[in-house]
């Protein structure tokens, strides 16, 4: 479904990604793990068009090259991205944020909002509140809820568990599994590698801009190298 080949990305002079290749197949949950600054967020941003790869990089989504496409076109094709740091619209209300999520106009907005509220009852309580005054965790829920509003075919989540209460982390991962079961393909970036690998089918390990390991999630969970570096021994 999504195929990334020879992706190199620069921030000015600094090369953040060094010829990365990986693939996400229809119906999979794939996770990218790696230390701070490995380049995980950069990968997602490049896929969604916020950054551009160097010449020679190719990104195909459902058989179409999207590496030169504008971000809003990419979203229209059914690829949605929950960025790092939530990036909700702080001055808008919770409800308006959700409406923005449905900007491309896929599906029935009212029903979708209802569904999000069912998943995150806290958001229903706060639907008129200005998003900027939500607590960190509430903002994270809103960010995920907003991304769901566009009914994506492929959803990319950048550290969705950051700053969330343990019980919510469980919920988020449940939701990921649920969404996946309902047919959404998922690309997940996580610090919480153990959790991520426990819901994923396959995983890639990034180190300083390179893919250093690629395997099934189970195999990675059992790998000594991964255990030592990312699972806390």
């Amino acid at each position: 479904m999504l195929k990334v080949e020879d992706l190199s990305v620069f921030y000015g002079q600094i090369q953040a990604l060094k010829s990365i290749s990986f693939e996400v197949k229809q119906g999979e949950v794939v996770t990218l793990i790696g230390a701070n600054g490995a380049g995980k967020s950069t990968v997602l941003k490049t896929i969604s068009g916020l950054l551009r790869g160097r010449n020679g990089s190719s990104i195909t989504f459902m058989g179409q090259d999207i590496s030169r496409m504008e971000p809003h076109r990419i979203v229209e094709r059914g690829l949605s991205h929950v960025p790092e740091g939530r990036r909700i619209f702080l001055q808008m209300s919770v409800l308006e944020n959700l409406q923005m999520g449905a900007y491309t106009g896929a599906g029935d907005m009212e029903a979708d909002i209802e569904q999000v509220f069912e998943r995150f009852p806290r958001l229903r309580e706060r639907q008129r509140q200005v998003a900027g005054t939500l607590s960190g965790g509430e903002q994270q829920m809103l960010a995920i809820g907003r991304a769901l509003m566009s009914r994506p075919k492929l959803m990319m989540l950048d550290e969705p568990s950051m700053g969330l209460a343990p019980i919510l982390i469980e919920q988020i991962f449940d939701i990921i599994t649920e969404l996946n079961a309902a047919g959404t393909t998922i690309l997940l970036v996580e610090q919480n590698a153990r959790m991520a690998l426990s819901v994923a089918h396959r995983g890639y390990v990034l180190e300083t801009g390179r893919v250093v390991l690629a395997d099934t999630a189970q195999a990675l969970l059992n790998s000594d190298a991964v255990k030592k570096a990312y699972l806390g021994g």
Binding site: G49, H72, V75, P83, F89, M100, Y103, T104, V130
Partner: protein
């Protein structure tokens, strides 16, 4: 009696400030830029009216149309060339660029049309007499157009999809893109609307003060900018209220307090208002969440 006349004077001037302030607020709302060139777009619009009506001898409506077509294009062009490359940069760099554009427009106008003011024929002649008062049609039209424009704009921003997109882009461009919003279009559109408003303001200005000169936009722009801030910059009803308040305050200080100190007094009012309401009259003060 005189008081009512002074009030009408104030509302009349205020309507023009309000229209110009709306343009400031639109552009400010989306890219947080105090568009110093906005006043000069009004100048270009006025020259367009003058050129059409006087030089080319077009009928009034055609001259107005000419100006309303040219300005949005000019606004979009300026945005593409001068502001777009600076989107990620510090806001003050953008501000200086806007000042540069303002100087450029003024000086180009001076070179093309000379520094001598040009005069226009009366666009809306005639006046209405109600009892002891005479009210020119110009005043009526100006006030009406300003109010209607404000209402339309408010609807546009709060009700339409484009309006939503504008708000989203103004808050977080990157996140807006991830929602599927075409940021370039949205910004271009905002500039087109803002400059279109400038053209409308210019037409009304020309009706009231039938004289165009290369520097005519500076003071008008400055005052309208003050009006926009007073009302709460970024807020559309705020721009309107700010415009009226400045217009009326000016008129009443000139009429009743001291005509020589009017500008200083108006600024004093502004400062007092801002100290009491730090986000302007209609602006909502949203403290940063810590």
């Amino acid at each position: 009696m005189i008081f009512i006349s002074q009030l009408i004077n104030g509302v009349h001037v205020g309507s023009i400030y309000a229209l110009v302030a709306l343009g400031y607020s639109m552009v400010y709302g989306i890219i947080k830029l105090i568009n110093f060139a906005h006043g000069d777009i009004i100048m270009v619009a006025s020259y367009a009216v003058w050129y059409g009506a006087v030089r080319m001898g077009l009928p009034t409506w055609a001259a107005i149309l000419l100006s309303i077509v040219i300005c949005p294009l000019l606004g979009m062009l300026i945005e593409k060339i001068a502001y777009k490359p600076l989107r990620g940069s510090a806001r003050i760099s953008l501000l200086i660029t806007a000042i540069g554009v303002s100087f450029l427009l003024q000086n180009l106008a001076r070179m093309i049309f000379t520094a001598t003011p040009q005069s226009l024929p009366a666009l809306i002649p005639g006046k209405l007499s109600v009892g002891p008062w005479t009210l020119s049609y110009t005043t009526l039209v100006t006030i009406a157009v300003a109010v209607v424009m404000m209402l339309c704009l408010n609807l546009l921003v709060s009700r339409t999809k484009m309006g939503k997109a504008m708000r989203a882009v103004s808050e977080d461009t990157e996140a807006a893109q991830l929602m599927g919003i075409n940021v370039n279009h949205t910004i271009s559109f905002t500039f087109a609307i803002g400059s279109g408003l400038a053209a409308v303001a210019a037409v009304l200005y020309c009706c009231s003060y039938p004289q165009v000169s290369p520097t005519m936009g500076s003071l008008l722009g400055l005052k309208a900018f003050v009006a926009a801030v007073l009302g709460g910059i970024g807020s559309i009803p705020g721009a309107m209220v700010g415009g009226f308040v400045i217009g009326i305050a000016e008129s009443l200080t000139k009429g009743y307090i001291h005509s020589g100190l009017a500008d200083a007094l108006v600024f004093l009012i502004l400062i007092v208002v801002l100290i009491v309401r730090p986000a302007g009259l209609m602006g909502v003060h949203r403290p940063e969440k810590v």
